[in-house]
Assembly symmetry: C2
Homo-oligomer: 286 residues x 2
C-alpha cells in the first residue's frame, strides 16, 4: 500500500463521556467515529477502542494509504516519562495503566499519548480559532474542566508537568473550593439537561448558568493576571450552551483584569468543535 | 575618568514606602542609600530622587569610574512603549508621568524603566535565591503585592504587558475580593506593627498572619496550577516576619496543587534581601 504520497494519521480523544477518533490528512478530517467511553473494565475499554479505530483504518485502506501513526488524547494527568496514566478522575479504570504499552501491544502502530486539553489547545492554536495567534490559552468544559497553554509553538508543560489546570483554581480560599467542584455542584453533573431547563425558561437553571458564567469569568481574569495570553479559546460540550453564560463571563473577566491593555484579550469559542481534541491528538505527529 | 575597566551601574527601586539605590559593578553592591518615598508632589519627588543618586555618583567618582547607566524599578503598571507610568497605586503622584523623560532631563545618563517586581525577580533569578533555576516566579509582599515570572532568560511580560500580577488573583469569587485587598484588610496597612503584636503573643495578630499565610498558600497553588515554575522566591518587607506564616503557606499550597510532581516545588525567601529590587534595576543594563 501507500501507493500515493498521502500521509494519514489517526487521532483519538478519550473523554469522560465519549471517545472520538478521526482520520486526518494534516489539513482535514477524512472520516470520524464516536462511541460512549466504557466505564466497566479495561478489557472492554480496549475492545471498544479497537472498534473505534477499525473503521478509520478501513477507510485508509480504501484510499490505499497505510496508517503508521496514532495520537491519543486522554482526560487524565499523565506521567510523560513513564507514559502512564496517573489519574483519570472521570475514567478511573485507566488509573495507573501504562496506556501506551497496552495500545502498542494491540495495535501495530506508532502511538503518542497526551492530555486531552493539550490536544484540544494544539488543534485550535494551529488550525482553529487561535491560528492567527502565538500565545493561546485553551479551556475545555465538559465532564470536567481542562486547560492548556500554547506558547512558543508548543504546549507549555511547566517545570514538573503540572501547568494548565484552570479547573483547580480556587474560587473560595476560606472554604477551599475549586472551580471544577463548584461547576459540578452547579450543573449537577448533567450540564446538557440543565441547559435544556434554562432554555425552557427555568429561572433556577438560568441562574446557575449565570453564576457559572461569573465564576468562569473571574477564572479567566486570574489566568490573564498571571500569563496574559493573546486569546482564550473555549471548548467542550458546555460551549454549545454558551449563550447562557458567555456574555456574563466576558463582563466578569474584564472587571478583574488589572492591566487595561490586557482587558482587550479575545475570548472565543472553538472553531473545530467536537473533533478538536482528536485532531490535536493526530497532530502529535506533525 | 573611567581610567579603569570597571563598569558601574546605578539601580533604583521606588516602592510605596521607601526608595533605595545601589551602585553595582555587575556582581556586588559598592554603595547603597535609602530614603522615604516623598508623597507630596512630583517636584519634591524628583529632588529626593536626585539626593538618593548623588552619593552613589560621588562614590563612583572616587573610584574614578564614570557611571553611564541607571536602571529604575517602580511599583507601578507601566506603558513600556510610551515609557509612562500608567498607575502607581501607592505613589499616586507618578500616575500619568513620563518618568523616563523626567529623569533623562535631570540626569545626564541612559535610563531604563521597569516594574519593581520585575526587577526583584530578575535579580533573584540571576544572582539570588533562584540562580540555579531557569523557571522562577518572584513575589514581593510589601506595601502592595507584586510578582513576575523569569522564563527563557527574561521577564515574561505577556501578550499585552499584563502578566505577573498575583495580588490580583481573586480569593472569593462570589464577593470579588482580591488577595491584595484581603492582605490590606488583614494587616491594616501596617504589616510591621501587626508582626510586632504577633511576636508579643497577641492571639488576634497571630491569627491574622495565619489567615494571610493560608491565602498566600492557595495563591501560590493557583500559580503552580497555571504555570508550574521550578521555584517561587518571596520578597518584600513582610518576608522578615515569614516565621509567622510561611509554614502555613507551604502546607496550604501543597494541598491545592493538582499535579503530584508539581507539589515538590520549592518556595524560598529572597537571598538578596531589601536591595534585590535595586540590583534588578541595575541589571536592566546587563
Amino acid at each position: 500500500m501507500n501507493t500515493t504520497n498521502k500521509n494519514y494519521t489517526i487521532g483519538v480523544d478519550i473523554g469522560g463521556t465519549k471517545m472520538s477518533a478521526v482520520l486526518f490528512d494534516g489539513a482535514k478530517i477524512l472520516a470520524d467515529y464516536t462511541l460512549a467511553t466504557p466505564k466497566d473494565n479495561l478489557e472492554h475499554f480496549m475492545i471498544m477502542l479497537n472498534a473505534l479505530i477499525e473503521p478509520l483504518l478501513d477507510k485508509a485502506r480504501q484510499d490505499q494509504v497505510l496508517v503508521k501513526n496514532i495520537g491519543v488524547g486522554v482526560a487524565a494527568i499523565l506521567d510523560y516519562q513513564e507514559k502512564k496514566v496517573l489519574n483519570a478522575p472521570n475514567i478511573p479504570l485507566l488509573n495507573g495503566q501504562k496506556l501506551l504499552a497496552c495500545l502498542e501491544t494491540r495495535l501495530n502502530l506508532n502511538i503518542r499519548l497526551d492530555n486531552d486539553a493539550n490536544c484540544f489547545t494544539r488543534a485550535e492554536a494551529k488550525i482553529g480559532a487561535g491560528k492567527k495567534y502565538k500565545n493561546v490559552f485553551g479551556i475545555t468544559i465538559g465532564t470536567g474542566i481542562g486547560g492548556a497553554w500554547w506558547f512558543n509553538e508548543e504546549i507549555y508543560l511547566g517545570a514538573h508537568g503540572g501547568a494548565g489546570e484552570p479547573g483547580w483554581l480556587v474560587i473560595d480560599y476560606q472554604n477551599g473550593i475549586r472551580l471544577e467542584e463548584a461547576y459540578h455542584k452547579l450543573v449537577q453533573n448533567n450540564p446538557a439537561s440543565l441547559a435544556e431547563e434554562a432554555y425552557r425558561g427555568d429561572i433556577l437553571a438560568e441562574k446557575f448558568y449565570q453564576e457559572f458564567g461569573h465564576y468562569l469569568g473571574i477564572n479567566l481574569a486570574n489566568i490573564v493576571n498571571i500569563i496574559d495570553p493573546e486569546i482564550i479559546v473555549l471548548g467542550g460540550a458546555v460551549i454549545n450552551s454558551s449563550d447562557l453564560f458567555l456574555s456574563k463571563t466576558k463582563k466578569s473577566m474584564r472587571s478583574f483584569i488589572k492591566s487595561e491593555t490586557a482587558r482587550k484579550i479575545k475570548v472565543v469559542k472553538s472553531s473545530l468543535g467536537e473533533k478538536a481534541g482528536a485532531i490535536g491528538a493526530a497532530m502529535l505527529f506533525s
